[in-house]
Symmetry: D2
Subunit: 326 residues, 4 copies
């Protein structure tokens, strides 16, 4: 098996993925997309920055939109269990020779900024401002009715290496795609919070962010979003789906924001809290791993991604994945 | 407007489409598809023929599967209002110089067999055996939970002419696609029973049957069918969808039976009983007419269809439709 | 069988129920209910009157809200096939000794006003102003996403007599409840447009309007409305449901408007266009006829209704229906 | 606040609730209910015992049905993180003066049997036989399509005390009902696995098991089960619902098995992994805590429960809860 054994006693305790900072070129256009179309709720905004949360989240934000000259990803944020975990994380990254910095972030407590070995900017915190529940304020539900941020998916030039590193910090592999000819990992899904993934890695020019996903109640909400987007000027922003992934078993849709950042709308994966959960292996040659129903993904979905601020992507050494022609 | 005015006082009263006879090469394979996978109910069968109905139908059958050496369509059946309508229909077809024959069909009363001007075999009847209701026998619901036959869609080499003929016998256009450059009809949807269509015609090598459609309760039943087919050996039989049509606004899926006959699973179109309902015009250049969400149909969907017994298709004089590359 | 044989050749051709005029005491409160909560679309309004349509309707209105000192129902409206049907209707009602008057109504063509033998105010018309389609303007969908008006349900003091009269004008019984001890009809559902009913009658102090129903896409829209109403101050307006009726097989919810007028939200009944459709008989003693799942209706649902303008209700001669205690 | 602060560093690590042993008087009747109606999958059976799992579970069983002379609950099972946790659990219960025994259970590794201070039989284990995934074998999905066991709900004669004890072993309160007059807890919901609860306690004659809950994909699956049960002889087994709980925000249905054991079908609660998640307080006087939409629960739901083997229930000292009359 090409995936490492689950690291059940990691050096610090990450609770879940938490938030992403998207740098965007037109705040009003992004607001129309994330707030008026997807239905995320504004928790704070000025003329440079918009903070958003989903309907069942009580942490202050899951997306930060920051006005910038060019689109990129400023940071991926993760919540750790307690303040001691922050210190243990700092020690871990320092020991690995990675940059460690304590930074100040609005609405957040003590925050550790670092990068993974490929330059992906990461921030860890234990406490963020908490907001009153809105999950039963049904008048606010809108768009696709997003309930919570679910995961990040990243291109990696060396998936084996990325999986090794994130396994070291406690992410556990739930499913993976293996190139049976080389024995190399093509892709892997890794979790902390008890779903199929908090983070995933796919072979390609990396590091780049492939997408951020939001959990919604049912497939019908995704159909509602398709109807809305296709009749309000967002037809070209619909990239792939709806469909069911073989991997994760989730019902999905991929859309692109006005700057091209990719958002997945996602529901119905499964619970993964058992520490002895066996990872599910998929063969790179099996097209049902991507779409259980057989429909191929478009070329853009395989090739395009968002740049991380300060991280220069490099090509994968693996042979390019054969894109299945529709 | 290239569509004829609604013919509100037709020569005889067709209530609705009723049934189709599919000639199939392997009855057991067809049974596995229509009964065990789609969920239609067997009302009679022997080693040559299987009769099927959907869950809310009380007429004896909506599909007849007949064992044959090669796949084809034996007949399209329609229910008329009363016995007098049968006689008026016979007079109408005779006056048009079309073949008229009174035939005996199991489970059916007096039956008129004829052909439309392009050779499509048609049968009209007023009374078919009635069966006890099963729509509240929920233990029987299975597969996609098909509720009723909804419509036939046919390739026609001259859509203007086909629409003219079917308008003469009372079918009313609800939506249509016009080639704005030539002013010719590309496709049209025509109803009797108060939905978007009982019959539709699309430009192409015709006459051929493009598909027969079944109505299901919600889009989630279509998702269930996709999950079932893609994990029980029917992956290659999934042809197009799921998606929402621009035309008809219906949520759809197209699948192929073991002989290649195409079945549409369909829900959520709209009521059309108003005699002054204005037909909706679509431009041939608008890809959203086919899929509101923008996803293109595969080439097979544009090109393949079932042969009608005894009718030789001819090419359309119109220029081939540009197939939108995915 | 206590129901009359279907009258297949009625004296004039009613296409469908069309609209209701509700007299309401507070237009702003009614607007908040029908527009902001149920999601009906305003097509015209001033300080005395609001006209509403549902999402797939192209006729100008299905509800007229009229400011009044006390709540009542001004009229039930029906669309007939053509202008000749209006004249035939006038002749029919005149021959029955019922009041006939040609009235002028905004947004409508020639309109015949009359009453049924128990005083229910009825209006018939062939043509109403037509509006552009909005069923694919998904940004407008809101509340319960009402698609179209579906039926009226009325209390009648003599259901046998009411069914006889409405059968005379072409309504066909689809289901009915019989008091097996007396052989009398307790309730009946009668259609013109091809669903389970356009009108229904239930034994009780009558005539009164029990409810007007709207068709919605799926049961999930009804759940959405429950969530919305129960968290926006409308908790007390939820009267009964959700549930599935035995009769009609429809999924339902009953809510009350600010004046107590009852609205049913309704989906998933079945097609009834066959002229030989056999009515389904239910026994008055079978509680599943009301709720297939067994939950009883509250007392208010059995007893309360809206008064028709100018019609004095009288008690039924039948013994009061035993209300099933929860 | 009457709930204890979250115990973030408990003496041993419980991963989740795992399984329940129901003693039943007629194995065939129970099989018809749990397998043919609810859709659970048999993983082992003989003439004394049936083992069941839900569709996404890989552990060998979530329910054990054991033939017995009278219905009761044999044990509530919980999975701990590793073998060391089992030893730490043994030490904890021993220190509390509670009975500790190492028992042998089919399909399970080392198993610790004990009781809580009120006599509820508990078993803890780290490893159970693992079975191949079936969550993508869609042909097997049946009934309500149960995905996984979700929680246990118990009557407790002293909810404050029960919450204190289970808090000591790491269960964290997510929502609770307080009697504002006495300041006493009326009920509380406590989790380990990241949903609203693994266990809940409600005031009443206790200890008794109120219900075991299963998670399903969407509310439509619950509607399907209602349709199925009400037409296959299980009408009287439908006890309460469908509805949405105020507490937990979940869509629910309660049904009773042939011996009266109560099963909840449940979906759409929310994620609770944040260690700083604030418990939500409900007032005992607020009827929306039970059903957001206002419908009352039947008396049986408040009063009836399953006896735990070897535990004699005692009355609560709190005043009986006012049952809201429908």
């Amino acid at each position: 098996m090409p995936v490492p054994a689950a690291n059940l006693y990691p050096p610090f305790n990450i609770v879940r993925l938490s938030h992403v900072e998207y740098r965007v070129t037109d705040l009003a256009a992004s607001r129309a997309f994330y707030v008026d179309t997807l239905g995320l709720q504004v928790t704070d905004e000025d003329d440079q920055t918009i903070y958003l949360r989903a309907m069942e989240e009580r942490g202050h934000h899951c997306i930060v939109l920051v006005k910038a000259g060019a689109p990129s990803v400023g940071v991926l944020g993760f919540k750790v269990f307690d303040e001691g975990d922050l210190d243990r994380a700092a020690a871990f990254f320092t020991a690995r020779g990675l940059p460690v910095e304590w930074v100040t972030r609005p609405f957040m407590g003590r925050t550790l900024r670092t990068r993974d070995p490929w330059g992906i900017p990461l921030e860890f915190y234990a406490r963020m401002d908490r907001l009153p529940p809105i999950h039963q304020k049904y008048k606010l539900y809108n768009g696709v009715k997003p309930l919570r941020i679910d995961h990040f998916n990243m291109f990696a030039a060396d998936v084996d290496a990325s999986v090794g590193f994130y396994n070291d910090i406690g992410f556990r592999v739930t499913e993976y795609t293996e190139d049976s000819e080389t024995g190399r990992l093509w892709a892997a899904w890794m979790h902390r919070k008890g779903g199929v993934h908090d983070v995933a890695f796919t072979n390609g020019l990396g590091p780049r962010l492939h997408h951020t996903a939001f959990w919604v109640p049912t497939p019908l909400n995704i159909i509602d979003l398709l109807d809305l987007m296709s009749t309000t000027g967002y037809l070209a922003n619909i990239e792939r789906g709806p469909g069911r992934h073989g991997i994760s078993n989730a019902f999905f849709l991929y859309v692109r924001d006005p700057d091209g950042h990719r958002i997945e709308i996602y529901c119905s994966d499964y619970q993964t809290v058992d520490p002895d959960l066996e990872p599910i292996r998929w063969n790179l040659k099996d097209p049902q791993r991507q779409t259980l129903w057989g429909a191929p993904a478009p070329r853009s979905w395989f090739e395009e991604g968002s740049m991380f601020e300060g991280a220069e992507p490099v090509a994968s050494a693996l042979q390019a994945q054969p894109i299945i022609a529709p």
